[in-house]
Amino acid sequence: MLNDAWIIVVLIGQISALLLLALTLYFATPILRYWNPASGSALQLELERKTFFVSSAVEYILAFQAVIFVLFLIIVNHYLPRLINGAMCASGILSLNEYGYPALYGKIAALAAYLIFIFLNRLDLAEPAYPLTPTKYFLLPFLFWAALADTVLTVRFFSLINPDVIATCCSISFSAAKISVLSESPVTVSISALLIAYYILLVIYGYWGLKKKIAGLLLFLEFLLLPVSVFILKYHFVKYIYALPSHNCLFDLFFGRYYYIGYLLFGLLFISAMAVIGLFLLNRLKKRFTKDLKNIQQNLRVAAMGGNLLFAIIIHLYWFYWKWIIL
């Protein structure tokens, strides 16, 4: 399917980003090797100027990748389901071959990596001593490999899609749910356990977030909370959003008939996760800074807790609406 306009545009975007990143890596190598802030040499001045190319390029790349990510979501959620027989949503599209889900996760991971780099970069450039230079540039090779992997996965995914193949869509999600509803199986029990775990985690998370202590623990909690949030959404709350008891495919959330709520919900989770990672990194690195970073820490904490809280409120509002207003 590499000759389809949508896919071509995505690949062009990917390749533009990859080429820029390769150039960035080329610029960053001498910075890693020769950076010496105490020197007044011409070389140091040149390296200093090169850091500007690196910052701008990574910011461009982040913007490109964000646009590409949106296009990718549109393709798998809305565009390809029209073309592929039997696929009604992204779940069917992404499982057309073994590269679908890795491509999606690869894109999310790459976005996260760019954001982390830009976050560190902004912090770094705010102080004359450039406290994180050249340390932060060690991230660049990883960014490059992540982008390369992302591009390869995307190309493989799209190139192997054959419009004649009949996809299975969410039939797996469907049947699993049916079994659990019909047979009153342990799955039902584990959903309530999952819910309890979610509430407990949310409370501890909020407590630790407010205590402003140990960012590492908050990070740990976030990485427990994140999958639990997705699970309770998938196995419990999503049916109130769809108003369908047996359908728990998460990708329908991205459809217009559910007001694209999926973009908001997953966006909130993503923001929280990024904020917690940022907070953790900041705590790790704050000794290098002379400036007071309390404000940034405060903002990140608000973003982390606010994102998770808003997510919880929204899904409960759906549940509340269904349980108390409709029934």
Binding site: G40, E48, R49, L125
Partner: protein, 232 residues
């Protein structure tokens, strides 16, 4: 504050292409201490390193070695970005050949240094108009700079150097491209600014400046070295 040296250098050096066959020692071991509201003249033949010294003092370039403390900040090894921001806020520079941007109006040329700080337009307008009035340029504010005479261009260049309300004004050969009547006028302007507390640093070999009453110290630059010059 008045007695403190707002410009202080310690063995300031600028060497181009160090170690290479075309090595140039433009500035060597300059020690300088200038108090606030002083007016300093640096003399010397062209190629003596005056301009290079001014680029370092004006935070346009970094020294190869040595220390430079400006307004209490040790700026010598700051990255270029911070030097630029520092200069934007505290130092005004009048370049030798005006360096106005052709095609733009007088107003725009004067306002340019304020753009990166994103000041409210009302503030920008007020400052530019005030300066234009002070420098008697208000009648030509919306003319393209290409239509101005040499003296007017110089006044626009000075207005641009003052628009960020600097504590230090650096001027490189401010009288080189204008006739002597105009030059006297410009020097009077500098004098009045100096009286208001602006620290002046002027490089020139114009005799008009040497004898001007506002100059309170004169240095002589030769082969990159700076010597205090005592008038006979």
């Amino acid at each position: 504050m008045a007695n403190e040296n707002i410009i202080r250098t310690d063995r300031l050096c600028k060497i181009f292409n160090p170690g290479a066959h075309n090595e140039v020692e433009a500035v060597l071991d300059v020690d300088l201490a200038l108090p606030q509201a002083s007016a300093t003249l640096i003399k010397g033949p062209s190629g003596s390193g005056k301009t290079t010294l001014l680029t370092m003092l004006g935070c346009l370039a970094k020294p190869t070695s040595g220390q430079y403390t400006c307004l209490g900040e040790a700026v010598s090894h700051w990255p270029e970005k911070f030097l630029t921001r520092f200069r934007r806020r505290h130092i005004g520079i009048v370049f030798q050949n005006f360096n106005l941007i052709s095609g733009l109006s007088v107003f725009e040329n004067i306002a340019l240094p304020l753009y990166p700080d994103g000041l409210p337009f009302a503030t920008v307008k007020e400052r530019v108009e005030q300066l234009a009035r002070d420098l008697k340029m208000d009648h030509r504010l919306y003319f393209k700079v290409d239509t101005l005479s040499g003296g007017e261009m110089q006044r626009v260049a000075i207005a641009r150097a003052l628009v960020n309300q600097p504590q230090i004004l650096i001027a490189d050969e401010p009288t080189a491209h204008i006739d002597s009547t105009l030059a006297k006028e410009i020097l009077e302007l500098f004098h009045s600014l100096n009286k208001k507390g602006l620290t002046l640093l002027i490089a020139s070999h114009d005799p008009l400046l040497e004898t001007h009453p506002m100059i309170d110290r004169t240095y002589c630059m030769r082969d990159g070295r700076l010597r205090e010059h005592h008038a006979e």
